[in-house]
């Protein structure tokens, strides 16, 4: 069975959940082979988890290079040449998309970006959710070893034992010049789950009215163990930082539960959240378009409804 290369996403020795999702998805196409690129010792920390999620092989490329993304690109490029994989799977993130694009253009491989499902067969097929979930499109690769980026949260993890045979890979010299990393400042996300990985998201819009009042949104989110999101209107008004923006020009989320507080639901916002499984909306305006897609809508004042909901949740927990 052909190998399927899975680029392992990790931050300072901590694996990202999407890596396990990719290992699960890879099994539809062939035998999952994890590719770990990072400083010496990285693979040691990750190998148990990778084995427990079905990695038959673990390619280990250890490097102290400060070249930006080029080690990942050149390792994948050389593995494509040596093992001719059925596909290369990479999680959607700013870095993941960039690595995927560069690998695809170098190896003349099909680039299937931001997919929500993969399938095997004569050709590798994928499912895209386009225009913020308004369309479902099926696409296929017309080349060998397609490079596919998979949206986090779209594949349910199924743990299974894998042999996890480690094989070390040399990081080749960069072809072409590379940018160099001079320093990094990772985001300290606090205790809340990451927006795109959270199973519950509570978002606030213009109706929240001020940055201070976003504490209300955060309070409800924390009672549910949820991530906090914001509409573009709220971000543009300076109520909440841009990195939490949900929508066409922000993040796309697809949680089990999405609670929209004071969000009118412009297409711009709906494009980032309408594939959520269950949507709750609270808005003063009975005509707000958010109600068209809400499973449960409340026409009312979020400053009365949200605290009451938070108390009710607290009661049920105790």
């Amino acid at each position: 069975m052909a190998e399927v290369l899975v680029l392992v996403d990790h931050v300072e020795g901590e694996i990202k959940k999407v890596s396990y999702e990719l290992l699960t998805a890879a099994r539809a196409l062939g035998e999952p082979a994890a590719v770990v690129v990072g400083p010496a010792g990285t693979a040691g920390k990750l190998s148990d988890g990778l084995k427990a999620h079905g990695a038959a092989k673990i390619y280990v490329a250890e490097t102290d290079s400060t070249d930006f993304l080029s080690p990942e690109v050149s390792v994948l490029e050389s593995l494509i040449g040596s093992v001719n994989p059925a596909a290369v799977l990479i999680g959607v993130s700013a870095d993941g998309k960039e690595i995927a694009g560069r690998v695809a253009v170098r190896t003349n491989s099909a680039l299937l970006g931001d997919v929500v499902g993969v399938s095997g067969g004569d050709a590798v097929g994928v499912t895209h959710s386009v225009f913020g979930g308004a369309y479902i499109a099926e696409a296929k690769a017309n080349t060998e070893h397609p490079v596919i980026t998979v949206r986090p949260g779209s594949v349910e993890i199924e743990p299974v034992d894998g042999a996890g045979v480690e094989e070390s890979v040399q990081v080749g010299a960069a072809s072409g010049r590379s940018a160099a990393v001079t320093s990094r400042e990772p985001i300290t996300g606090g205790d809340r789950p990451e927006l795109t990985e959270a199973s519950v998201v509570v978002s606030g819009g213009r109706g929240v009215g001020s940055a201070d009042d976003f504490a209300l949104v955060e309070g409800l989110a924390d009672s549910l163990g949820a991530a906090v999101g914001a509409s573009r209107a709220a971000v543009d008004s300076g109520y909440y930082p841009h990195q939490f923006q949900v929508g066409q020009t922000g993040k796309t989320v697809s949680p089990q539960l999405y609670i929209a507080l004071g969000i009118s639901g412009a297409i711009q916002h709906r494009a980032g959240m309408q594939t959520s499984k269950t949507i709750i909306a609270v808005n003063k305006d009975a005509e707000a378009p958010i109600f068209e897609i809400a499973d449960f809508g409340v026409v009312g004042d979020l400053f009365k409804v949200a605290p009451q909901l938070k108390d009710e949740i607290a009661k049920r927990k105790s």
């Binding site: 930006f68 700013a94 998309k97 694009g101 560069r102 695809a104 253009v105 170098r106 003349n108 680039l111 970006g113 931001d114 959710s129 225009f131 979930g133 308004a134 369309y135 479902i136 499109a137 099926e138 696409a139 296929k140 397609p146 072809s175 072409g176 010049r177 590379s178 940018a179 990393v181 001079t182 320093s183 990094r184 400042e185 990772p186 985001i187 841009h242 990195q243 066409q248 297409i267 494009a271 309408q274 269950t278 949507i279 609270v282 009975a286 109600f291 068209e292 809400a294 499973d295 449960f296 809508g297 409340v298 026409v299 009312g300 009365k304 409804v305 949200a306 009451q308 909901l309 049920r316």
Partner: protein, 265 residues
Amino acid sequence: MNIVVLVKQVPDTYSERKLSDSDHTLDRDATDAVLDEINERAVEAALQLKEANGGEVTVVTIGPDRATDAIRKALSMGADKAVHLSDEAIHGSCAVQTAKALAKVISTAVGAPGEGFDLVLAGNEASDGRAGAVPAMVADVLGLPALTHAREITVSGSSVSVKRETDDGVTHLTAELPAVVSVGEKINEPRYPSFKGIMAAKKKPVTTLSLADAGIDASEVGIANALTSVTSSQPKPPKSAGEKIEDEGDAGAKIAAFLVSQKLI
């Protein structure tokens, strides 16, 4: 320094977007087209660098004739000239083909890296197709370093530094020129074209190229030769509205009851 800005005309995200029934490509007639917001920021960044360092700003685009509007907008903001690859055969090209074609257009119409230009600027991600990697791919084809998602750009002497800001944090990058830089949403506020700028734009040179002019073989582009094919597309049935209530002082409790009934809490 001479700067190339890559721009793209996209459907307005505030209007409804459709895929065409015949070949599953974007139905460009059904939607309002605008210069992608992020491109205006790339143009603005180019103009600021030009104002500080001198040189010329050339706008490069690939797209249908309608893309002329996007070019005019960039020129009226202050770009000096434009190159437009407009050829029916381009329709439906995939990301890999597009990146290679852009690299070819830049080299033939603007010149080799370091000779024709010192810097290529682009938006970090088009709002209509979220491959999100075309600038880095173009850089790879040209053999240039890619400094992406810039929140700040600093050019000093022969090197460029970028504060790269993404969801995962901030990374400081540096590279020698020539290089490719893509800008993020926070880079700047694009200027509005002045009346004078709009009038001047009408006289600025726009070079329209066919594939042959750009030295691109028809087999390298287009939907029939794309490395990926869309096999089907369908609108997802819109999510229908569920229950809607007026708050009578107990809506918070009612939401909680709903969440319990759905086993969500």
